[in-house]
Amino acid sequence: MFPRNSRRRFLAAALQVGAAALAWCLPKRSVGDADVAPVSDGNEAVYRRLLSVCGAPREIGSLAAACRRALPEGECADSIVAAIAGTDERHRWFQRADRASVAQELCAMIRRDFTAGRVIDVQGWVLAQTEARLFALHHPVMDAG
């Protein structure tokens, strides 16, 4: 049996992080400019669209930073946006599509990631790559690339 305080801290932290892990599928508010990492002009529209769909709950700060460190794209927001949007054609689609369609597509991408084994361990949570990229985009000190 490990010390009571350790148990309490561990369980509390686990549940807090868990709430953050689900935040992307519970979007409730848009994001202000202060939360947005700098990206190149070509990616800005898609970036803003992604953020507006997912929201930017404050509590995901540490998870977002951890996602950023875990991703192959590293610190580069442009690369992350590009990785989510994919081809030029899909890039254009993300700019044109309405919020509901973007959300639906992101959910589908996340499920496909899980099915294909494209997962990343972040702070113990097993996240889809797309999901981790979305988290990472919320980290405000990200490099423009």
């Binding site: 892990a21 689900l22 990631d113 099915t115 113990g124 949570w125 097993v126």
Partner: protein, 546 residues
């Protein structure tokens, strides 16, 4: 009839057809079967303890642990009529088909039996364990919105365990033994040696001793060891008069391959829908689900399909789910609650009760002070447990039950220290290996991907946590109180102690009825299979006597 070995004249010799050593679920099952089906067969059932807990008898189980952390040996098995069913939880299920098969990714795996060979005995075992009909399909339990999770059935399926009341064999079947004309059960009768003929081809007798009382001999035509995984090995290893390495031990197998079900916290499950209820998966004793058609009580688990087990090279493993919240999880493992259980316990002394077990001896004052110090936790626990539904709980704990891979280095040996009868005490060296760890870590990730793909929620891995993960601590991976494997079954005497009939290789009249014969141990609780094998052995013995 039920008698007291302390009243048997010292030095006497009792003759019988079948001598059964140990009155746990295996021994009582065989005695009961022979009572009902073969009244002309004379049976002597020897039980080390009495009708209730006796500390001096229990102390005979004392032994030593090394290797992976394990419970004190004197508390894991009970020495009185009914054996360990006196404190079992009652969860039951048959082993899976794949558990009986040799798997090329698990060394020494596989039985010389198939699941189909045991099927009719599983059906009969259900009656003895007082559980519902032999049907483990979840459909019957899926009522009132309690549905199985929507996973890819090619990868993860939902299975069911059924719950015995739990049946205390010594209580429920005592009358049948007492009133039997052909079964003589002797309490306080400790077998201290198995005596083989000089050619080692058969057993002639067992020597029996009582604490501070008479010693006598039981001669029989057939002998059945049903004393449990550790004691069976101990008796064979200690019977060295005609074979210095111990009976049945020509190939140095007796005591090896000790196995447990590795119970480990696998992950924290956070549902996508915060109002999600576990339903049929709710693994809290007072929340198990009832099957309307026959009242069977059950709980669902998640299991990797045979395909996934093969592809991922997993041992058998299943995941049970229980609701947690921070305060509930906290107090469920709190010192205060443990001490409260200790104070409240009436049935067994606390050291032998599984729920109230403590790793150290604490006196009354210490327990009381722990309760007073944790009154706030107890209040929360009481409120949540008795007045609040689990519907607002957001987090769930996923617990794995893992098949330990056969491991010859995981073993029971004898020490130089002796018990009250001069019998060597045992040392358990429980060891796990990389296959066990691989199953633990890999299955957690497979499950996490399935939860994500199904949109059910996310899992946080426990496996890497320094306090909860691998290797074990008292809060992390541990034994499931299921001891198995020390007299394993094989057609080949070089790889097994008993054959497919549970007969010790090379000895014509010595059988073993116990989970000690399991060569692969599955991940389901072992008692139903113990009963099924005992019923099968009963039929075999009946055929011998015609």
């Amino acid at each position: 009839m039920l008698g007291d070995a302390r009243e048997v004249p010292d030095g006497s010799v009792l003759d019988t057809d079948v001598c059964i050593v140990g009155a746990g679920p295996a021994g009582i099952t065989i005695a009961r079967e022979l009572t009902m089906s073969s009244p002309s067969v004379d049976v002597t059932l020897l039980e080390s303890g009495g009708l209730s807990f006796d500390a001096s008898a229990q102390a005979l189980n004392r032994g030593y642990n090394e290797g992976f952390p394990y419970y004190p040996l004197e508390i894991t098995r009970l020495r009185f009529f009914g054996g360990t069913t006196n404190h079992w939880d009652g969860l039951c299920g048959p082993f899976d088909t794949i558990d009986f098969e040799p798997r090329d990714w698990i060394a020494d795996s596989g039985w010389p039996l198939r699941r189909a060979d045991l099927e009719p005995f599983y059906v009969r075992a259900h009656e003895l364990a007082q559980i519902g009909r032999f049907d483990y399909e979840p459909d019957g339990w899926e009522v009132d919105g309690k549905r199985r999770l929507p996973f890819d059935p090619e990868r993860i399926v939902t299975g069911m365990l059924q719950s015995s009341p739990p049946t205390r064999f010594g209580t429920v079947y005592r009358e049948a033994i007492e009133q039997s004309a052909n079964v003589r059960a002797l309490l306080f009768a400790n077998v201290v040696e198995i005596v083989a003929a000089p050619d080692r081809a058969q057993i002639e007798s067992v020597r029996v001793a009582t604490l501070d009382g008479p010693r006598f001999t039981v001669r029989a035509r057939q002998f059945v060891l049903a004393a449990g995984t550790i004691e069976n090995a101990r008796l064979l290893l200690a019977s060295t008069a005609v074979q210095s390495s111990g009976l049945g031990n020509e190939h140095d197998l007796v005591g090896r391959y000790f196995a447990e079900h590795i119970v480990a916290p696998g992950a924290i499950f956070l549902p996508s829908d915060p109002s999600y209820e576990l339903g049929i998966y709710n693994w809290r004793s007072r929340s198990l689900t009832i099957r309307p058609s026959d009242g069977a009580v059950g709980v669902a688990y998640l299991w990797p399909t045979e395909r996934i087990q093969r592809e991922e090279r997993l041992s058998d493993v299943r995941a049970l789910i229980e609701p947690i919240t921070e305060p509930l999880a906290l107090v469920a493992s709190s010192d205060a609650l443990t001490s409260l259980r200790w104070l409240a316990e009436r049935e067994l002394p606390y050291r032998y009760d599984r729920e109230a077990w403590q790793p150290e001896d604490l006196d009354f004052a210490t327990n009381l002070s722990r309760i007073i110090g944790g009154l706030d936790e107890l209040a929360i626990f009481g409120y949540r447990n008795f007045f609040q539904s689990t519907s607002d709980f957001r987090g769930h704990n996923i617990v794995f039950s893992i098949e330990q891979a056969p491991n010859p280095d995981s073993r029971v040996t004898l020490t130089d220290e002796r018990d009250a009868f001069g019998l060597p005490r045992v040392k358990l060296d429980w060891r796990l290996n990389e296959q066990d760890k691989h199953t633990y870590t890999r299955f957690a990730r497979i499950l996490a991907a399935e939860f994500g793909a199904a949109g059910v929620g996310r899992l946080k891995m426990i496996s890497d946590h320094p306090l909860l993960g691998w290797p074990a601590t008292s809060a992390g991976a541990r034994g499931g109180w299921h001891q198995m494997g020390t007299t394993r079954m094989s057609d080949d005497p070089r790889t097994g102690v008993v054959d497919a009939d549970c007969r010790v290789h090379g000895i014509s009249n010595l059988y073993i009825a116990s989970s000690s014969v399991y060569p692969s141990v599955g991940s389901v609780n072992p008692t139903l299979t113990i009963i099924a094998l005992s019923l099968r052995l009963s039929d075999h013995l009946r055929a011998i006597f015609g």
